[in-house]
């Protein structure tokens, strides 16, 4: 995949990703228009399908609200690259199928507006604007299994209804 970088800082919390005032809704079409509203008012107007959020440490800290990765994914974001992720956001993203990559070097080497090429399967990230090529931290084996099945819901579905 290839997309344009939206660059943010450390500790981007779930309250700015999707404020609680919108969390009486939980579908992508209702949440996406408010994604990152309190952090970057123009984000939703500027973001295009396939674009990439690149941020610092502890992305998604705060609430357990799954509405946060749903809003980001619904807005068109194809991948979030961060130095680190808060643990509930990390779980939620894997569970709903929002690709996330931990790669501090790529974060340091990417600026707002850069074009990145990403291979989600291998974790390889290439900056097409400034030269740079990195490999993200690999997911642990068990998590890779959940991702390859298409998320946690698919995993549970397979366990509840095993193919005979």
């Amino acid at each position: 995949m290839e997309g344009t970088v939206f660059r943010y800082g450390d500790n981007i919390d779930t309250d700015v990703i999707i404020p609680a005032r919108y969390c009486t809704e939980y579908t992508a079409d209702k949440l996406a228009p408010h994604a990152l509203e309190d952090l970057d008012r123009t984000f939703v107007q500027r973001v295009k399908d396939g674009d990439i959020i690149v941020a610092g440490k502890n992305f998604g800290c705060g609430s357990s609200r799954e509405n946060a990765p749903i809003a980001i994914k619904g807005a068109g974001v194809a991948c979030v690259i961060a130095e680190s992720f808060a643990r509930i956001f990390y779980r939620n993203s894997i569970n709903i199928g929002l690709p996330i990559l931990e790669c501090p070097e790529a974060v340091q080497g990417s600026m707002e507006g850069d074009r990145l090429h990403i291979d989600i399967k291998t974790g390889e990230i290439e900056n097409l604007t400034q030269s740079g090529h990195w490999k993200a931290v690999a997911f642990p084996e068990g998590i890779q299994e959940i991702i390859s099945l298409g998320g946690l819901a698919a995993y549970v579905r397979a366990r509840l209804n095993p193919v005979k």
Binding site: T24, N92, I146
Partner: protein
């Protein structure tokens, strides 16, 4: 068998293993699964999408109306309605209706739904609160909750543990909130990411369950999976009070391996205030004294228990809330509210000019019942002060314990209780 921390012991026991090590990925059986009005509806939809019909065991489920209740609008009313119908269809006894409910993190321990050694997940980030009674409890999302409903188990990565040793006798007007704000300021908001905090030391041992709840509740603000306190005689006495008679003492093995050890001497700790916009921004109250306040909130899953209101009442009784400041008092549960009334504190709070609201997360999440306007500033005993958390994105919230909050409501500005009294 290798020596283990409390979290490792609990995960080993719930996954049928002799021992586990940090980094292991495993499926573990859960003892309870907590959902609220704000997270359950999505889980119900995902549960159905999974092809599930009946939950694995209805006695595992706890469903609490607390975030947007009493319903703030039609959408919020629908969220509660969805959860109510699901609880009925699935035969969930531990469903807590408005009026007989409260903030989930007070309901779960006070109703005897968690005990030492339990593994509990909840679709709310402050589920880590139950570490106060020696449980490994952690927040998850709605899809995780749906999976746990369907399977009775969930995947976990075994976390490493940071041992936090807190020693020293606290000074007057300094309490559990000041201790945990100070600890988080040392760790940073990501200092315990993917890890567990295990609290030890004479300061923690001397704390009652209300105070331990304040400590464990905020573990997630350092990024932790949970914040566990060993269970001791204080825990067992509390467990008996809430009807749990088979609770056990639980501590780490003496030679357990820790990621690191943080030692904090709190003998000289001053009352703490965390500045906007991070809970790790704690400073001595003296550094922010004089900050004008439009609103003060005393309550939430962090500081909404009887001990917290006792601290506030001692300072507020016979006094008046400053004319330019609003004071919100939020008892965490019906039983706590009844205690405030029985003690005469409720009347004293109202006489002082406070409003007592129903048990709700309301203002803590900027949801309803006390949202901040543009450029307004608040001092809250809650747990987070991120941008826009409590209302308009330009509003600001400082975090403190109930003593600083009470005297600041009287003065209409951040005040050091040591100086006022």
């Amino acid at each position: 068998m290798s020596a283990m921390t409390i979290a490792e012991k609990i995960l080993a026991q719930h996954s049928g293993k002799e021992s586990v090590s940090p980094g292991d990925l495993l499926f573990a059986k859960v003892d309870r699964i907590l959902g609220t009005d704000v997270t359950a509806s999505l889980s119900i939809q995902v549960f159905k999408d999974m092809g599930a019909e009946k939950v694995f065991d209805p006695s595992l489920l706890v469903l609490v109306n607390d975030h947007f209740v009493p319903a703030k609008d039609i959408q919020a009313a629908q969220l509660s309605k969805n959860m109510r119908q699901f609880a009925h269809e699935q035969g969930v006894d531990a469903y807590f209706e408005v009026g007989r409910s409260g903030i989930c993190h007070s309901i779960v321990p006070d109703q005897g739904l968690v005990k030492p050694g339990d593994l509990l997940v909840g679709a709310d980030s402050h589920t880590c609160t139950y570490g106060a009674v020696g449980a490994l409890a952690t927040g998850v999302g709605s899809t995780d909750m749906a999976a746990a409903w369907a399977l009775g188990e969930l995947w976990f990565r075994v976390p490493s543990t940071i041992r936090v040793e807190v020693t020293g006798k606290l000074k007057p007007f300094v309490g559990a909130k000041d201790v945990i704000l100070h600890v988080i300021s040392k760790l940073g908001v990501d200092g315990a990411l993917y890890k567990v905090l295990e609290f030890h030391g004479d300061t923690i041992e001397a704390m009652n369950i209300d105070e331990r709840i304040t400590i464990s509740n905020m573990a997630v603000e350092a990024g932790a999976k949970s914040g566990i306190i060993p269970s001791d005689e204080i825990t067992l006495t509390y467990m008996k009070e809430v009807g749990v008679h088979d609770a056990q003492l639980l501590d780490a093995d003496p030679d357990a391996h820790y990621d690191s050890v943080l030692r904090v001497d709190v003998s000289d700790l001053k009352p703490q205030v965390a500045k906007p916009y991070l809970p790790s921004n704690a400073v001595d109250v003296d550094e922010v004294v004089g900050q004008q306040l439009e609103q003060v909130v005393i309550g939430s899953c962090t500081n909404g228990r009887v001990s917290d209101f006792e601290v506030a009442w001692r300072l507020l009784q016979g006094k008046k809330v400053h004319p330019s400041t609003r004071l919100l008092i939020i008892p965490s549960t019906r039983e706590i509210f009844q205690q405030l009334m029985a003690n005469g504190w409720a009347n004293d709070f109202v006489e002082a000019g406070a409003v007592i609201t129903p048990s709700t997360c309301g203002p803590c999440i900027g949801g309803h019942m006390g949202v901040l306007a543009e450029e307004e500033t608040g001092l809250y005993t809650t747990n987070r002060n991120f941008v826009g958390r409590n209302g308009h994105p330009t509003s600001k919230v400082f975090l403190s314990g109930p003593a600083v909050a009470a005297v600041s409501a009287i003065r209409g500005k951040i005040t050091n209780p040591e100086v006022m009294f």
